[in-house]
Amino acid sequence: MRPTRRGVGVLLVAGAAVAVGAQFGQQALGAVAGPLFVAVVAAAGQVYWAGTPTVERQPPRRGFPGERRSVELTVDGSGVARITDRLPDGIDGTTTTARSLPATVRYDVTYDRRGEHRLGPVDVRVTDSLGLVTASTTVDVTDDVLVYPRVYRLGGPEAFVRTLTPDAEDRQAFDRLREYVPGDSLRDVHWKSSAKRDDLLVKEFADRNSDRGLVVVAEAEEGHADEMAAAAATVAMGALESGLAVELVTPDGSVDTGYGDTHRVRLLETLARTGAGTTGRSGDADVLVTADADGVTVTVEDRQRAFEDVTVSHDNPLAGEVGS
């Protein structure tokens, strides 16, 4: 706790009043000096009793680089406070506000870079109502925010399939046989096998696409992890959209093959957190994404393309679906 500039000024005026009054005897100076001194003391008391304010943050939702989010801080306490939420690199915004407590502070941030970012702690400077004494504290309230890598739009599913999927295998053969259950379509009965047994056996077809999986492996040289993540994300999201199951291998983690919304979230999470490096599994890859100083390349079987050639636009096909 220390006096503000204004507080120091008040003390100086009070001191001058006392000195002049002692010298010349103007009685009303007592009505100046006394209240001024008391004001500073009362201010100190007010700040002391206000104590440390409590802060609750409503963390912003996940998103992609370039997106804007709003962060809400609920600050409880008393006095006039100057509240600053410490922002990490990778998240931009002006976060300092002055308010009279209790208050709800809202400020906007923009996601700059992918990755796991930590908001906070919150610096609070509490001043008394008259602005004479101030005390600074730091409230240890932190929240983690995950920013996904950028995702671009691939050149359409057909193009994708054409350029990136391995050569199609014969899909005429059915997958397996199983026992007949009332309600199965009679067309599926495998008469040949059923003849040998008492009950009917039906063919269980695999969905043409539903079995198709894609192994995406991403590697990058030091300092190019962001581009690698963006390219791998674009490929993976595009694959999911076309109905393929995606398995992802990154230098810092991998995700087993899977489908669906939860799977998508897992893929994006892994790509958000991974750094640069190698995986040791580039041989298993259906699609290999590599990033280095010369740029990002996508390799399928023996064909290699610059990633730029495969993207049709820089729009994020997931924009608006995630965390808005």
Binding site: R6, A17, V18, V20, G21, A22, Q23, F24, G25, Q26, Q27, A28, L29, G30, A31, V32, A33, G34, P35, L36, F37, V38, A39, V41, A42, A43, G45, Q46, W49, S70, S78, G79, V80, A98, R99, S100, L101, P102, A103, T104, R106, D108, D128, S129, L130, G131
Partner: protein
């Protein structure tokens, strides 16, 4: 919507801004009030009011269009113009060094009232602070506004023209401006950002925070009102420049004779028995110390500057006079050199200056043992000569000695005119007034100091007082009739110990009247009834002797122990009623209705109001009321923050339930029981249902039953009188069993 809410809705300003602007009014009002008082003393305040209003209006208009830097320039121009106007319009043509010296004297405590042309001064220097304060307040630059008003107030504090209460109000106003102003700026900034982000979901202005902030300001204001007042009374603080409470009862001597260039009429007063001088003189005279010419309504100011005395013989009074030689020896440390009027030559240990009233004033202090000799020429006009003196007063006399404050009630003049209607010349007027006061007012050292005009109150509402009251009233009355008069202070002759020796004590200090007669100069009158006064003085001497006070006697009169009352020059007390004076209940006023004038004037009283004998405690002044209100609000805010009010109201709410309708009753009963449970165990958590909570705290069957009744009401929509009765009963028993 209530009326208040509707009115609030119409105003373009928020509550906080209103509070801030009110505070600005307060901090600006303090110096304005002082200036008004200054002007009122010397003449009509109309011009001053016009100038103030114009400055206010100009600031209000320009606040919208003018940029702050330009506004400061305008303020500087106003100040400079005022300065030029003042200097060029002075009747004398003082040198720059003299002006600077005067300004420094003002800043070290010389009252502005002593300046001859104080009216011009105020009008010249009023516009700048008024304009700047108003402009910046409207522009929300509250600190700057406070500085502008505060500087003006500070100046008046230094010249001691601003009283303690006025100053306190100004200081409170200054802090309130800063406090509410800060909140207003925050509120305003918040509103702007909310408007910009209008797309944001439900961005409501944080009323709770601003509310809490306002209360915080009130708390601090209460602290700065209450604490210094309490601290001022502490023995270690009282008497230092931090305190502003009244000290012990002043003595007559202290309030009159030792007073410097200004004096304020006091309330209760005591007599000091200490011996001051031993005089050897050819005859007994009133030993005059000084005179005062400017009446402020609650006191006197001596205008003009002292001039050096080079030891030569001064002019005597016009007209006949005789010489009286006096030799004085000081018996204690003192600050004056009394002498009979009119002194013409001085010679002695202490160096002296000449006052504007042609008396002598020592440059430093007079030590015990110092002696000096004075030659005086005493006017010896006969009554007939005085009657025929005429009314051709010189300008220099009428300019100075007919002044009365503009706020003097008209009835003073009317009453005096009635009393003196049979007087045919100024001398008779003076005699009538002198005698009327002697016969119709009693002598007492205990008086309730009046709030307003002393002369008006003494004449119409009071029935007793001491010499200052008598003298003040007579001078005022004479002035209303066009007779130039002034108040003189000094000592009565004292105790005669030898043919030509007198011993003068502090209790001999006295105030009387001098009236001007063309061709004869200043002639002395004494409206105080002398017998009661002398009786009181003698009683005091006996009392001091009985107490064994040494200084009451010299070798020639008696012996006693030294008893020093350290009298530092009493600082001019409050111009308003002192909030810290213990107010006594005034005695019932019973005016004696005998009015005898030597010229067969009309019977009947002069308008003394007979009050019924009820003792009504003195109402606090407006200012005190305002301060008390703020202190009260602030204390309430502080209590609220400490949770005291909530706890008290919660305790009341808990104990007693007033029955209204079944729905409210059941719900209220339930809440009461829940409060008890919360107190005994723990509060119900946010996501916890009532049933789960009751299980968790293992509640009694009757509480559960109450909960069921309430559940049925809240979720089933049914309730009955019976259920309500049951519910309240259970709640009462739960509360009483805790």
């Amino acid at each position: 919507m209530s009326v208040l809410a509707r009115v609030r809705g119409r105003l373009p300003w928020g509550e906080t801004r209103l509070l801030a602007l009110l505070s600005v009014a307060l901090v600006l009002g303090a110096p304005l009030r002082t200036m008004y008082h200054l002007i009122d003393v010397v003449g009509s305040p109309t011009v001053f009011l016009v100038v103030t209003v114009v400055s206010l209006a100009a600031a209000a208009v320009l606040a919208r269009v003018l940029r702050p830097i330009l506004a400061i320039a305008v303020g500087a121009v106003l100040f400079g113009a005022g300065l030029v106007w003042y200097v060029t319009n002075l009747s004398t043509d003082p040198a720059v060094s003299a002006l600077l010296r005067d300004t420094l004297a003002l800043l070290s405590g010389r009252r502005l009232l002593q300046i001859a042309n104080v009216r011009l001064w105020v009008i010249s220097f009023a516009p700048a602070p008024v304009f700047l304060t108003t402009y910046f307040a409207l522009r929300r630059w509250y600190v700057t506004a406070t500085l502008a008003a505060g500087t003006a107030l500070g100046f008046f504090v230094l010249t001691t023209d601003a009283g303690v209460v006025t100053t306190l109000l100004g200081v409170v106003g200054a802090f309130a401006t800063i406090g509410f102003g800060t909140l207003d700026t925050l509120d305003d900034g918040e509103r702007r950002t909310a408007e910009r982000n209008a797309a944001g979901p439900g961005t409501s202005t944080d009323d709770e925070g601003i509310d809490s902030g306002r209360r915080g300001v009130l708390e601090q204001l209460a602290a700065i009102i209450v604490l210094p007042a309490i601290l001022s009374r502490l023995p270690s603080v009282a008497g230092t420049s931090l305190s502003f409470a009244d000290e012990e009862q002043p003595t007559v001597e202290g309030s009159i004779v030792d007073a410097d260039e200004s004096m304020t009429v006091q309330g209760d007063i005591t007599l000091s028995p200490t011996v001051r001088y031993t005089v050897e003189s050819e005859e007994a005279r009133y030993w005059r110390v000084a005179a005062y010419d400017r009446y402020t309504g609650d006191g006197w100011v001596r205008t003009g500057n002292d001039s050096p005395y080079d030891g030569t013989r001064l002019a005597g009074p016009p007209g006949d006079s005789r010489t009286v030689r006096q030799s004085f020896e000081a018996e204690s440390d003192i600050g004056t050199v009394p002498a009979a009027w009119k002194p013409v030559r001085y010679n002695g240990d202490p160096a002296v200056e000449l006052t504007t009233h042609e008396g002598f004033q020592p440059v430093g202090d007079v030590a015990a043992g110092d002696s000096y000799q004075v030659v005086s020429e005493v006017p010896v006009a006969t009554p007939r000569q005085l009657r025929e003196a005429g009314t051709e007063y010189p300008d220099v006399v009428t300019r100075r000695y007919l002044q009365l404050p503009e706020s003097t009630p008209d009835r003073v003049g009317e009453t005096t005119a009635t009393l003196t209607q049979n007087a045919q010349n100024p001398y008779e007027t003076a005699l009538v007034v002198e005698r009327w006061l002697q016969n119709n007012r009693e002598y007492s050292l205990e008086v309730e100091r009046p709030e307003r005009n002393v002369a008006d109150r003494f004449l119409h509402a009071m029935d007793r007082g001491y010499c200052v009251y008598f003298a003040t009233t007579m001078v005022t009355m004479l002035r209303t009739q066009g007779v130039p008069a002034r108040m003189a202070v000094g000592y009565t002759p004292g105790e005669q110990v030898d043919e030509n020796r007198w011993v003068v004590r502090g209790l001999d200090s006295h105030a009387w009247v001098e009236a001007f007669f063309p061709g004869h100069g200043w002639v002395q009158f004494d409206p105080t009834p002398s017998d009661p006064r002398e009786a009181a003085e003698q009683a005091r001497i006996e009392e001091a002797r009985g107490d064994g006070v040494e200084s009451v006697d010299t070798g020639e009169t008696g012996n006693g122990s030294e008893f020093t009352q350290t009298e530092t020059p009493t600082p001019p007390p409050l111009t308003e009623d002192n909030e810290t004076t213990t107010t006594e209940t005034p005695e019932p006023t019973n005016t004696t209705n005998e009015t005898t004038t030597p010229f067969g004037g009309p019977q009947g009283d002069s308008g003394g109001e007979g009050s019924s004998g009820l003792t009504v405690p003195d109402l606090p002044s407006r200012e005190e009321t305002a301060l008390g209100l703020v202190a009260l609000l602030g204390t309430a805010a502080g209590l609220r923050r400490a949770g005291v009010t909530e706890r008290v109201s919660r305790a009341i709410w808990l104990r007693h339930q007033r029955r209204t309708d079944p729905e409210t009753d059941v719900e209220r009963a339930f809440q009461r029981a829940m409060y008890v449970l919360q107190d005994e165990h723990r509060p119900r958590e946010a996501g916890e249902t009532v049933r789960t909570y009751l299980d968790a705290v293992d509640a009694d069957a009757d509480v559960r039953h109450l909960a069921t009744l309430r559940e049925r009401l809240r979720y089933g929509g049914t309730v009955s009188e019976v259920a309500a009765d049951e519910a309240v009963e259970i709640a009462d028993s739960v509360v009483s069993n805790r």
